[in-house]
């Protein structure tokens, strides 16, 4: 049996490895010149490489590592470095580690907060690691009831608390534990990237909770790019073929059944099974021929919200100026935030189509731990910039891009004076750039907003949430399908499994 996997990113490669291992003749079609998609490391300025548009890899599921035996194929884990939160007031700058928190008298609250998450980790994990169960009555209701019983086994208090926190706002939840606004903003930021929320939006606590519950103490040595290397090795080890520079133009169907794919260059490939790791909108609205699925099934996909609120910034630096607030530290990860209010304003600014007054940045300096990314003594800085409006490509004039860059650099320079002078080159990718380069609808990094209604049976919708589609033989394996976006491999494995089981 022949399988084709569209897209050679983390999810596509994971699905391909799985299918090849199951004995299918598997071909991965990657449009880019190298595999990796949003996890691909890339030379963005001559001599300077980043380790992926996604720069963190601490949400990689241990069960996924085991399922693909990635560690036998060169994947190495290392303890994820602590997150540093700089501040213009040096005494407020801290790392999210016990010793620093004790000094700021936030340790008790932070520990209690982490402990409540730990209490929920297992039940959240078991929902996210498993396919969405069928919803129905009688025997079909068992999987759902089983989840309900697991939830109930938490004990009444912890269950009720989970149901409360899940729909609260991140700011309200964090304020119950942490007195320092600046710290709350830093913790909330990563959950906002990939959702359409400010820290005061209801349900943002739920998204933050999922993120925190999925994060592990470890990350991939070498970052997401190294994960791709391992995935390529696994996939090829099982016999999958990865063809680069091959962009699919359309799917070929035969009376509701997949027959193969037609490439942009005109080549036609036959297949019994096609797994698409593009986002659900790109697949179902872009690759499926018009009229192949019925209107309600198409509407379900059309309604998936993919509004990006961030941009990606890469800087090539001749040197890394020390932190003004904590010159003793050389952190790999920082979060540049002012307060929840500023975060909320950044969200509001983008909502009204304006550049953020004070963008917030989730920063990583991969060159501190990954050798060879930059010339000796030089560095690479990678940052998600939050508060960037989703505009059409035309609206991003050179002037507007420069203005956004200036604001981002101004925020960075508060703690890193002299950073601007160290810039050798840069790359600023706004949503239309990401859409154009990676094909993700709306340039959305998560293949669809993280929102409570766009999770589980709602990711991307009841018809598609199990990785199956109305077209026989066509499967989805993208972060836009249950469980969620980010570097976890789970959507790829679940989609790949759904395809393998269909034989």
């Amino acid at each position: 049996m022949k399988a084709i996997v569209i897209g050679g990113g983390q999810h596509g490669l994971a699905a391909a490895a799985l299918l090849a291992r199951e004995g299918l003749t598997t071909t991965v079609l990657e449009a880019g010149s190298k595999p990796g998609g949003l996890c691909r490391g890339r030379e963005f300025v001559t001599g300077y490489r980043h380790t992926g548009i996604h720069h963190d890899s601490d949400a990689l599921r241990p069960s996924a590592i085991a399922a693909l035996a990635l560690e036998e194929h060169g994947l190495r884990l290392r303890p994820a470095p602590p997150v540093f939160v700089p501040s213009p007031e040096p005494e407020r700058a801290l790392q999210l580690v016990a010793s620093d928190l004790v000094r700021r008298q936030e340790a008790t609250g932070f520990t209690a907060w982490r402990a409540s998450i730990d209490g929920w980790r297992q039940v959240i994990g078991s929902v996210l690691d498993a396919p969405v169960p069928p919803l129905g009555v009688g025997e079909a209701a068992w999987p759902v009831l089983k989840r309900a019983v697991e939830l109930r086994m938490l004990g009444a208090e912890r269950m009720i608390e989970l149901l409360r926190v899940g729909v609260a706002s991140a700011e309200d939840w964090l304020a119950e534990h942490l007195a320092e606004p600046h710290l709350r903003a830093a913790i909330a930021l990563p959950a906002l990237i990939g959702s359409y929320m400010g820290p005061r939006s209801p349900h943002s606590a739920g998204v933050l909770l999922l993120r925190e519950a999925l994060s592990t103490p470890n990350e991939v040595e070498g970052g997401p790019a190294a994960l791709i290397d391992a995935l390529v090795r696994v996939a090829e080890h099982h016999g999958a073929t990865i063809r680069l520079g091959k962009q699919v133009r359309t799917l070929q169907l035969d009376t509701g059944r997949i027959k193969g794919v037609e490439l942009v260059d005109g080549e036609v490939l036959e297949a019994d099974v096609v797994v698409s790791s593009l986002d659900p909108r790109a697949t179902m609205l872009g690759l499926v021929p018009p009229g192949a699925i019925c209107v309600p099934e198409e509407d379900e996909i059309r309604r998936v919200r993919c509004r990006s609120t961030s941009a990606k910034l890469h800087l090539a630096l001749s040197r890394l100026p020390p932190s003004a607030s904590r010159p003793d530290l050389s952190p790999e990860r920082w979060r540049v935030v002012r307060s929840p209010r500023h975060l909320e304003q950044a969200f509001d600014d983008q909502k009204h189509g304006r550049l953020p007054r004070t963008p917030a940045l989730d920063v990583r300096v991969p060159s501190l731990s990954v050798p060879g990314l930059a010339p000796e003594g030089h560095h690479v800085l990678s940052a998600h910039v939050f508060g960037v409006p989703a505009r059409d490509a035309d609206a991003w004039t050179e002037q507007e891009r420069q203005a956004l860059l200036d604001r981002a650099l101004a925020e960075l320079e508060v703690d890193r004076p002299g950073l601007r002078d160290a810039i050798v080159g840069h790359e600023l990718l706004v949503a239309p750039d990401l859409e154009q380069r990676f094909g993700t609808t709306g340039g959305h990094l998560m293949h669809g907003e993280h929102a409570l209604d766009q999770l589980w049976v709602g990711r991307p919708g009841p018809t598609y949430c199990r990785g199956r589609t109305p077209i026989t033989g066509l499967f989805l394996a993208s972060g836009g399908v249950h469980p969620m976006g980010g570097v976890s491999l789970m959507a790829g494995l679940l989609g790949g499994r759904a395809a393998a089981e269909s034989r």
Binding site: R152, I160, V167, P202, H203, K351, H352, D453, G458
Partner: protein, 531 residues
């Protein structure tokens, strides 16, 4: 019946929920005393002649979802309650003739079609869908909150029957219900409609009384409320009470008195008396002590537990929950006495479009901007307004030829940047912003104003005892409804304090002039022999 004790129950606060609870308890043969701080009963449902000859429906101004079973049990029609239907929903615009939604579906379709033909076609389908889901939602409104943590067979049976009802909706409706529960009003309406002119006024029902914007997740489910009234029978649940909302309170009070309830006004309660972990009565501000077998509070949870009772009488975890319970008043009220009717440039002259509610909600972005200003601790410079002209429906509300206008305003955050106590300095500026906004749509309004009453959330707290000026006794967000309202240990009217019950909007199913918390509290008390 004797005006003296011993009392089976004392109801603290003579708001509409307190009165409903008292009346139902008395009807079942209990001796009930209602203690009201102000000189009139009704709480936030009062009609007062603030300016000679003009009757203001001071705070709440429409009857939303008054439960039919309460209406029947208390024979409210017999005690003088009459509802006048609001005849349309008018959204004026600065340019063009605005949008009017009428009871007549054909007229409404024509109106909507001026903005979008597809929206006009989809509008009735949306209404039908919401109607079906509203029927489902009634399972929640007319019963105690389900308790997902309970393992009692009766509670499990309730959960199972709710699950059954949900499955009976069918896949398509269940999917819409899921979205209604979790999405923002704006996002949900985006799935159905394209025209901002239609979506904006529709989305408003999702934000009334909460400190959220139309793009905030979790605001969509309130859209159902509008449709819930319709299935209860249009003339019953949604509308304007003849005589204003004070007449609702008066009718409930009359029914209560008929059943033997004693109502004392100007009798502010200073604290709830305790003996061990048992509430045994109340102490009035005058020092008078009254004992009763049960104390029922119609006040909001914070006022009840932290002011009248005191933290020392509460289990620590429960006290923490009550402290965290969010109020965040976000709305204000402006009442006007008018020399003549307003004249909207969108629809000049006096016509039926003035006989319903008039919403200043020209676009989703307008509403969201109003919210964003409030998040920064300012009242909206261009707020969302919901205007009703009661004197058009009930001419006795104003002298002949003159009118009263009730304007509900959002956003007016309790927490101003300079603190809530700075509201008195900002109050008139806030009133000006409201009048200026409305005058942009109805020039000449300012010249017609004879008297103006401005109520900020601060005033609502000072005058009506609504903590932080929240009109619903606490935010109606997903984390504060059902079994979480106001806290799991008090979500079924019974509280951790023996003999103390909650019957106000801070209990399930929450705010609005629906009487449900009061009615369900009474039912629960009777069932559990709490009195």
């Amino acid at each position: 019946m004797s005006q003296q004790g011993p009392w089976d129950a004392i109801v603290v606060g003579g708001g509409h929920n307190g009165l409903v609870c008292a009346a139902l308890l008395a009807k079942a043969g209990r001796k009930v005393l209602v203690l009201e701080r102000r000189h009139v009963v009704g709480g936030a449902a009062v009609t007062e002649e603030i300016y000679p000859g003009f009757k203001y429906t001071v705070c709440s101004y429409v009857v939303s979802l008054l439960r039919p079973w309460i209406w029947r049990e208390l024979e409210l029609a017999r005690f003088g309650l009459e509802l006048l239907p609001l005849e349309c929903s008018f959204t004026p615009h600065l340019e063009g003739s605005g949008l009017c939604r009428w009871p007549d579906p054909d007229l409404t379709r024509q109106e909507i079609a001026r903005f979008s033909a597809t929206d006009a076609e989809r509008y009735p389908e949306f209404g039908r869908t919401m109607g079906r889901l509203a029927r489902f939602a009634r399972h929640f409104i007319d019963a105690q909150a389900p308790d997902p943590a309970s393992i009692w067979p009766r509670d499990l049976a309730q959960l199972a029957s709710l699950g059954q009802a949900a499955l009976e909706l069918g896949d398509a409706d269940l999917e819409i219900q899921r979205k209604l529960t979790l999405m923002s009003a704006a996002d949900l309406l985006d799935e159905w409609f394209e025209s901002d002119a239609l979506k904006a006024p529709m989305s408003c029902s999702g934000i009334i009384g909460t400190f959220l914007g139309v793009r905030s997740p979790g605001t969509a489910y309130v859209l159902l409320h509008h449709y819930m009234g319709e299935i209860d029978g249009a003339s019953r649940a949604w509308g304007f009470a003849r005589g204003g909302n004070g007449a609702v309170s008066e009718a409930i009070a009359a029914s209560a008195r008929h059943h033997g309830v004693v109502i004392r006004t100007e009798a502010p309660v200073a604290k709830i008396k305790m003996s061990g972990n048992q509430a045994t009565g109340v102490v009035l501000e005058s020092g008078e002590e009254i004992t009763a077998r049960a104390v029922v509070s119609g006040l909001d949870p914070r006022a009840t537990f932290l002011r009248l009772l005191g933290e020392q009488h509460l289990p620590p975890e429960f006290a923490k929950r009550i402290q965290r319970y969010k109020f965040r008043g976000s709305s204000g009220k402006v009442n006007l006495a008018l020399d003549r009717l307003p004249d909207f440039t969108s629809r000049p002259g006096i016509g039926p479009h003035l006989r319903g509610d008039i919403a200043i909600a020209p676009s989703i972005d307008y509403l969201e901007r109003a919210y964003d200003e409030a998040k920064d601790g300012r009242f909206s410079s261009r707020p969302y307004l919901n205007v009703v002209i009661p004197s058009l429906l009930d001419p006795t509300m104003a002298p002949e030829g003159k009118h009263v206008m009730s304007i509900f305003v959002q956003y007016a955050p309790y927490e101003l940047a300079d603190g809530p106590q700075s509201w008195p300095q900002h109050r008139e500026a806030f009133g000006d912003a409201v009048v200026d906004t409305l005058a942009e749509y109805a020039p000449g309004l300012k010249e017609a104003i004879l008297h103006r009453q401005v109520l900020s959330p601060w005033d609502l707290e000072q005058e009506f005892g609504l903590t932080e000026g929240n009109i619903f006794h606490g935010e109606l967000t997903l984390d504060q409804i059902l079994f979480q309202r106001p806290a799991p240990a008090a979500a079924r009217y019974k509280t951790p304090v023996r003999g103390l019950w909650l019957c106000g909007s801070g209990a399930h199913p929450g705010g609005g002039v629906m009487g449900a918390p009061g009615g369900l509290c009474a039912k629960t008390m009777l069932q559990q022999a709490g009195v």
